[in-house]
Symmetry: C2
Subunit: 307 residues, 2 copies
Amino acid sequence: MTNLIIGAAGMIGGKIAKSLSNETLVLADAVPAEPLPGSTVLTLDLTAPDAATRLLETRPATIYHLAAIVSGEAEADFDKGYAVNLDSIRTLLEAIRHIPNYHPRLVYASSAAVMGRPFPDVIPDDFHTVPLTSYGTQKAIAELLINDYSRRGFIDGVSLRLPTICIRPGLPNRAASSFFSNILREPLAGKTANLPVPETTRHWFASPRAAVGFFRHAAQIDTAPLGADRAVTVPGLSATVADQLAALERAAGPDALTLITRNPDPMVEKIVGGWALAYQATRALALGFVADRSFDDIIAAHLAETA
Amino acid sequence: MTNLIIGAAGMIGGKIAKSLSNETLVLADAVPAEPLPGSTVLTLDLTAPDAATRLLETRPATIYHLAAIVSGEAEADFDKGYAVNLDSIRTLLEAIRHIPNYHPRLVYASSAAVMGRPFPDVIPDDFHTVPLTSYGTQKAIAELLINDYSRRGFIDGVSLRLPTICIRPGLPNRAASSFFSNILREPLAGKTANLPVPETTRHWFASPRAAVGFFRHAAQIDTAPLGADRAVTVPGLSATVADQLAALERAAGPDALTLITRNPDPMVEKIVGGWALAYQATRALALGFVADRSFDDIIAAHLAETA
């Protein structure tokens, strides 16, 4: 039984691969994924005409699909966003449909971006999907296709609407959400980080460890209770920046807080102010998806992984 | 200023055309539409490679799009449903996007089939879109594309989620909803019709006249109040079969009722039992869309049109 990971060179894709290292793996991405013992690394352009054939050659029983053009790029390059985030998934679904007696489990990385403002404080599972970006549109369309192909019996799909991942590894970047990770990762490593928003800012989080858990769990659940709606808003941790900083202080002492500068950035504040505060995730909790319990846990997991 | 009607050979498309007979019209369909003075009739396969080029040759300022593979056929022929109901609309949107300085108003015939059971008694505008058919999936995807292309400024789109049209002209057919029209149209013409469900059965209706009004109104409204969500659930008339029959008796006398046989059809009853009872249509009402007031009005309009 082969597992195919599309987007295996990414942070979460790579961690899913490591968590499955005892199994047969095909690790696909546009750049070479880190090989694991016994794994096959596939380097390909998802929009190439032979991409689906190459991806499905081993008839993987489980497909983890995490490859996407991110939000900013999909907005800047309309054609590329639709080609990668919509056409390549549809081509893959069509290729699966035309293989006799093949009905793989497909776990697809969707996004909370399928929903758009205005939001209630806690967003229910059945909140309507009115995306405000081309990226969100493409993810919402992929969810609809996965629902229909599952209903028709061509695949057995689950789409996961993921929280903001925190603590992200790597260097601070220009993404508006970057500071949520920076203000923990950098002080934990003895470095400075800037907080551009008030401490009262609330957001919705999952650790990389929890995210890997969501994908692994989605690959194993009985999908019958999902009915026609295969899109699952997974549970997360709703927390304020103050909650993050209190956990940082408990983990690294009061000195860690002194590494944080507080230069407000009205642009970042405006973008983040439009984001959701929390989701109910009622269905996912009933299906056994497990969120991080606290930022203390998220920091402890980060320290254990980077030690 | 040219109006393009795609699906002009259909019942509603033809009536829209007649209502616009003082304007420049392009009447497109897979079969020849009834020509009107000064109109251009385009007969084409919407999935043909040159279809979009031919449709857009006159740079129509308003496009009414009513062409679709219906629900049953889209379920029976998966490829044809996606080709006509999804690919052809995407190809049209892409062709429009690539024409410089061209941003037509697009009024698109969507469907309540974008939503799926379970339903509340009165369905709100922001009810989630979990279709239970491939047809509903294709309509929901088209709505998302029209939202995104409108947000990006490529088109100025409005998608209309239409009620069941009643009284449909023509002969009784095998569609599950057929009886709603049959039990009025046939007795009004002195013929018999069968009622396969209980009189308590409630459903959501618009007359052909109201439907034409929705399209004409959608072509003219200021779309700014729609924001990112260009999909409008139009107002309808929520009525029971008993309401229909009472209106029939008022219009044609008690003898008309004796023309109705009552042979229950459990299959039809089951299908219709899964349909929605009523929609709030709050946004559409605020935007000035007008529903039929009663089945008395619907019957009167039918009699005037068929006289």
